[in-house]
């Protein structure tokens, strides 16, 4: 399957599906292929499979089954949450994923009031400034649980409290589901988004948590599936795979996260030894699997590509890597200088990464940076 010489360090972008998940999906696809809206037994068996997956997911996320709505992924969940909430003013953090930022910008163009709440230089939201922005006109606040680029973990508990009972609080938990403990009822979030392919589940499958009695417009209308909130024939094999993957992730969460954290810290130590290098994001309040560095005088796309020649697969927030040729809005929001931002490298670990692989990567990375710096017109 995966070529032995490849070292995949891009698990925040997506993960390889777990074979156990794939087997579960295959079983459901062949056995319970009915349409859950069909009255006959094949349909009813499919419905049962669906509700079992919903129960399982709810339990793992600390909410009721009736509060779990299956979607086609994180982007759809985020769009539904942001577009579905009626009301005048929206506040989203400046470091949200594009599926929040672009949606907010779209609404802004369509006569809604939108505020992008600032973060500090480590990517953590400025609570005081957020508090000032929350007024009686505010319909919804959206702040992600942890950032996909720099891994900074947000104080969601405090934010939920700031929102209180009157303002909806949505949190994009795409990068934390399966990695951090999530108890939606305890957190008192109103809305939360999760995506399966970030924890060895299937792509194209996600969840939107909607707290009981929360009023939200559907994004996709039709046959009335998912309690009228999300129409379309349910992708039950995918949903079964999603819940299975989430279950597997939580089964072994603590040990696995400790293992990754150890590797992460080793990488950070090692990369700090490179001259004119710098860690982006928070040192402690950060995802166990995230490393984000900047190397002065090196451009990210070139760095990623040259690392790829060595079999190392990572990512960057460089402008040249994006379709818009703008540097990552996250690196901009934490106030990183352009040259530094262009030279960013994200390494995101996963359960399949061995210490050995990481050692190899840590040998190659300084070599590649050295090589690019030699060619560069920006001298360190």
């Amino acid at each position: 399957m995966i070529a032995v010489d490849k070292i995949y360090l891009d698990n925040a972008a997506t993960t390889q599906i777990d074979e156990k998940v794939l087997e579960e999906m295959q079983r459901v696809a062949l056995e319970n292929y009915g349409n859950a809206s069909s009255l006959h037994s094949l349909g009813q068996n499919a419905l049962e499979e669906l509700e079992k997956a919903r129960e399982k997911t709810a339990k793992l996320l600390g909410c009721k089954a009736s509060e779990i709505y299956f979607t086609s992924g994180g982007s759809e969940s985020n769009n539904t949450a942001i577009k579905g909430a009626a009301g005048k003013k929206l506040i989203v953090s400046a470091v949200e994923h594009p599926s929040i930022i672009k949606t907010a910008e779209f609404l802004k163009e369509n006569r809604r009031e939108v505020v992008f709440a600032p973060v500090d230089e480590k990517g953590i939201i400025k609570l005081e400034e957020l508090k000032k922005e929350i007024t009686s006109e505010t319909a919804l606040v959206s702040v992600m649980h942890a950032n996909n680029e720099i891994g900074s973990i947000q104080p969601v508990k405090e934010i939920a409290e700031l929102c209180g009972e009157k303002v909806l609080f949505h949190s994009d938990m795409v990068q934390t589901a399966g990695k951090l403990e999530i108890d939606l009822h305890k957190l008192n979030a109103d809305l939360a988004s999760v995506s399966g392919h970030k924890f060895y589940g299937p792509k194209g499958n996600g969840v939107l948590y909607i707290k009981e009695d929360t009023k939200l417009d559907a994004l996709i209308h039709g046959g009335g599936q998912e309690n009228k909130m999300r129409s379309g024939t349910e992708n039950i094999p995918g949903i079964a795979g999603f819940s299975k993957a989430l279950e597997l992730a939580y089964k072994n969460r603590e040990t696995e996260m400790q293992r990754q954290e150890k590797i992460r810290d080793k990488i950070i130590q090692s990369l700090l030894e490179i001259k004119k290098s710098k860690l982006n994001g928070h040192e402690k309040q950060r995802l166990s699997n995230n490393v984000n560095f900047s190397f002065f005088g090196v451009e990210g796309e070139a760095l990623i590509t040259m690392l790829d020649f060595e079999g190392i697969q990572a990512s960057t927030g460089s402008a040249c890597s994006s379709k818009s040729l703008k540097i990552s809005h996250v690196l901009k929001a934490i106030g990183l200088d352009h040259i530094w931002a262009h030279g960013s490298l994200r390494i995101s670990l996963g359960k399949n990464n061995s210490e050995k692989e990481v050692e190899v990567a840590l040998e190659k990375i300084p070599e590649v940076i050295e090589k690019l710096r030699k060619m560069s017109s920006v001298k360190i």
Partner: protein
């Protein structure tokens, strides 16, 4: 995304580095865009005897600066001035549309260096 030729050129870029005591130097681009090139020329008998380039930039920036410098090496200054962005891109089997600005940059740097050289020559002739 990139053609094989771009990737080859990027993998083994030519003419990278500095020239000591160059006859002309030009720098283009800016750090906000993430592309900066510095071209060094050595000129003899109106011909480009040597050319080197330093590039801070992405895959296509490095590949085009390598390819463009290769294409002008040994040419007369006037021949070199005729080099177009399209020729560079074509020599690399094309660039993704969004990356075309990189080929502009390489050609711009070369032209700037040549014009710089010519200006200096003019001044010298005036002495």
């Amino acid at each position: 995304m990139y053609s094989e030729k771009v990737m080859e050129e990027f993998k083994k870029p030519k003419n990278m580095g500095k020239i000591k005591n160059p006859d002309a130097i030009a720098e283009v681009g800016n750090p906000i865009c993430g592309d900066m090139m510095k071209v060094y020329l050595k000129v003899k008998d109106n011909k480009i005897e040597d050319v080197k380039v330093e590039t801070f930039g992405c895959v296509s920036a490095i590949a085009t600066s390598s390819k463009a410098t290769e294409m002008i090496k040994g040419k007369t200054l006037d021949e070199a001035l005729k080099l177009t962005e399209k020729e560079v891109a074509d020599a690399l089997d094309g660039l993704p549309p969004i990356k075309m600005h990189c080929s502009v940059l390489a050609v711009k740097a070369i032209k700037k260096a040549i014009e710089d050289y010519k200006k200096k020559q003019l001044c010298r002739n005036d002495l």
